[in-house]
């Protein structure tokens, strides 16, 4: 059998998705047995120019992690789309913006100002900002253009499969890889490496009636390890989040933050979660319910932690 040609690339990413691929551990050798890695900046020394020289669609599968935040990210997204037969949005950042897309609550100017002018360790008497095109003598140095907001991969190019998670768990990555090798690909556009049920379904905690009298923040209580965290008053996104991770955070006695993305059929994970919480608050008088709700701080950042770029509103409206 011809060896597969595999690529992996990080755009606006933290590197955790690369580590997750390495975490398939001994399977890395199985992968190497059936695939040639033709581009993987963190581990293999091929360069952009090598990829440019490849034939169109000659990479069988490209795992693209990271969101798109600048012109270099966009350029590579387009290049890898052109060179790849199958493009996978790998990890929450590529799927839905992930943590980087929380920056969509802020204006680009404010971000640049904070980092390069205002932060207390910065000494910048001349108020210099990084320049996309910097000229010294007759050399021009180009830096990537820092975009106004953060995009998910499919805002830029068509994507064949989505593999969510921050990062996706190694078990799921390996399963998806086995499917790729088998050639039995699911329909294009599918979300892979996930369950069709909610995280609550695979969470082993005891669930009773979901009725909550008050909410707590993670540092305010020590929850027991047996009962549903949401019923104990912790904001757990389990009900609106896809299963697949094996309830990892719950195992550490912490609530789910929603990295596996919305359940099938939900178009906006955060908006749906508002709906869920609205129905479980155990107060009938509107004012009392309001007081309970006011104990939830930073609801937007919490409910859209991984899905900001794909939320219906895309980001905060900038004055």
């Amino acid at each position: 059998m011809r060896k597969l040609r595999l690529a992996s690339y990080w755009a606006s990413a933290c590197g955790g998705c690369d580590v997750a691929i390495l975490d398939t551990n001994e399977h890395i050798l199985d992968i190497a047995a059936v695939a040639d890695i033709v581009f993987w900046p963190v581990a293999v020394d091929f360069k952009y120019s090598d990829v440019e020289a490849y034939d169109d669609r000659s990479i069988d599968v490209c795992l693209f992690h990271g969101a798109v935040r600048n012109s270099e990210n966009e350029h590579l997204a387009r290049l890898l789309r052109q060179k790849s037969e199958v493009l996978v949005a790998f990890g929450s950042c590529a799927v839905s913006g992930g943590i980087p897309a929380l920056a969509n609550f802020k204006r680009r100017e404010d971000i640049l100002n904070r980092v390069y002018r205002e932060s207390p360790s910065t000494e910048n008497p001349e108020s210099v900002l990084p320049q996309p095109h910097f000229t010294a003598g007759d050399i021009t140095l180009d830096l990537p253009d820092f975009y106004r907001r953060v995009y998910a991969l499919d805002d830029i190019v068509p994507v064949d499969y989505y593999l969510p998670g921050c990062p996706p768990t190694p078990e799921r990555i390996w399963e998806v890889f086995e499917v790729i090798v088998s050639g039995q690909l699911p329909p294009a556009g599918s979300t892979v490496g996930v369950a069709d049920h909610s995280l609550c379904h695979e969470c082993s905690r005891v669930k009773k009636e979901k009725k909550v009298k008050t909410f707590y923040r993670p540092h305010e209580i020590i929850p027991d390890r047996e009962n549903c965290l949401l019923e104990q008053g912790l904001i757990c996104l389990g009900p609106v989040t896809r299963g697949g991770c094996g309830a990892r955070c719950i195992a550490a006695n912490m609530a789910c933050r929603g990295c596996y993305g919305p359940m099938p059929g939900i178009i906006d994970q955060g908006a749906k979660f508002i709906s869920t919480l609205g129905s479980i608050i155990d107060e009938d008088r509107v004012e009392d319910a309001g007081a309970v709700i006011d104990r939830i701080v930073d609801p937007a950042g919490t409910f859209f932690r991984f899905s900001m770029a794909k939320s219906l509103l895309k980001g905060a409206r900038q004055p």
Partner: protein, 416 residues
Amino acid sequence: MASGKAVDAVFRVDPPPAAKKLRELYYSSHYIHSHIAHFYALAAPDFVMGPDADPAVRNILGVVGKVGLETGAAVIKHRAMAQEIQALLAGKATHPVWTLPGGVSKGLSREEAGRVQKVADSQVEFARFSLQIFNDVVLANSGYVDIILSDAYRLETSYMGLVDSANRVNFYDGSVRIVGPDGVETGRYRAPEYLEHVAEHVEPWSYLKFPYLRKTGWTGFREGRDSGIYQAAPLARLNAADGMATPLAQEACEKMYATLGGRPVHAVLAQHWARLVELLYAAERLRELAHDPEITSDEIRIIPREVPREGVGIVEAPRGTLTHHYVTDERGIVLKANLIVGTTNNNAPIYMAIKKAATAAIRPGVEITRGLLNLVEMAFRAYDPCFSCATHALTGDLPLKVLVFDAWGDLVRELT
């Protein structure tokens, strides 16, 4: 981990001793995973395969092919076990959801501690084995030793690293100690005082800022005692300390300095050796903590009672001193943050190291090959495979572009 310590400070709460030990245990395991990955996947290809080997094989898979499947399997197994311990405590090895102001969310059962003990024993052996490989493959090859000690990879700057009260390397806690290029202490600070010692310079041609020693000031890209440039990461940590807190690592550390001509060592590529010394320390420390009776205590959290406001947390990340500084509102929601992350510390040194390596390698009459360019990149890889975390909001590997000019300033070649 730095953010965990920063929120302790924000909420003005001191975690119970067991929680601190658990955090350090977790963090030792994190170091093991990170250092194994950095050494075997990023550094070893250059040394085991040779700097000018074909990129198709100059990678971890090529290394496995050459050192044998058995060694390859041991590398993978030990990195995997290090990740397993992190996941055991924190749910996930990457992006743990486990530190909270005042402690950690989950402890270690007696049974789990037993598992950690077993893993730690194996990690100590593996770290020694890795040092042996370094000895056999790199040190036994005088060609490599010459490269390591050559002027092309020598950078004389100040160094920075976290030390305990006896000035020994510590990853989780202590004071940051700064030594000059002559190895003499020039500064020392606890987390809240970081702004008195470190500042960052901005250049229009880089999204990444350039930290320097505030007391010396920004003096440009210069080496030496009067320059504000300092380095962080493994070699710098060893240079900034007087030794290691565990016996085998101390021995390995002494051997390194004896071989390379005493403290401090300015050879950029000795970074890889220092990394392995740290690997051994992390493994030994993991073993010590796993045997500590307090590690299975239930006292792992204190609920904070103070009104949160501002805090700084510092740890040593595998790639350098990591500082998190938050200012919050009275609910603890971050209003302002300032981070100086591992590799950012080394930004100026990386540019300087690359320039030196390039100047040495690219000379009239020498044909510019990919192997030669790789010699330049090796200066970079000593520090960090990834600039992504170091650029805050920005990302991407910085593609290295070499423009070669002739004596009249005309561009003769451009390589990327």
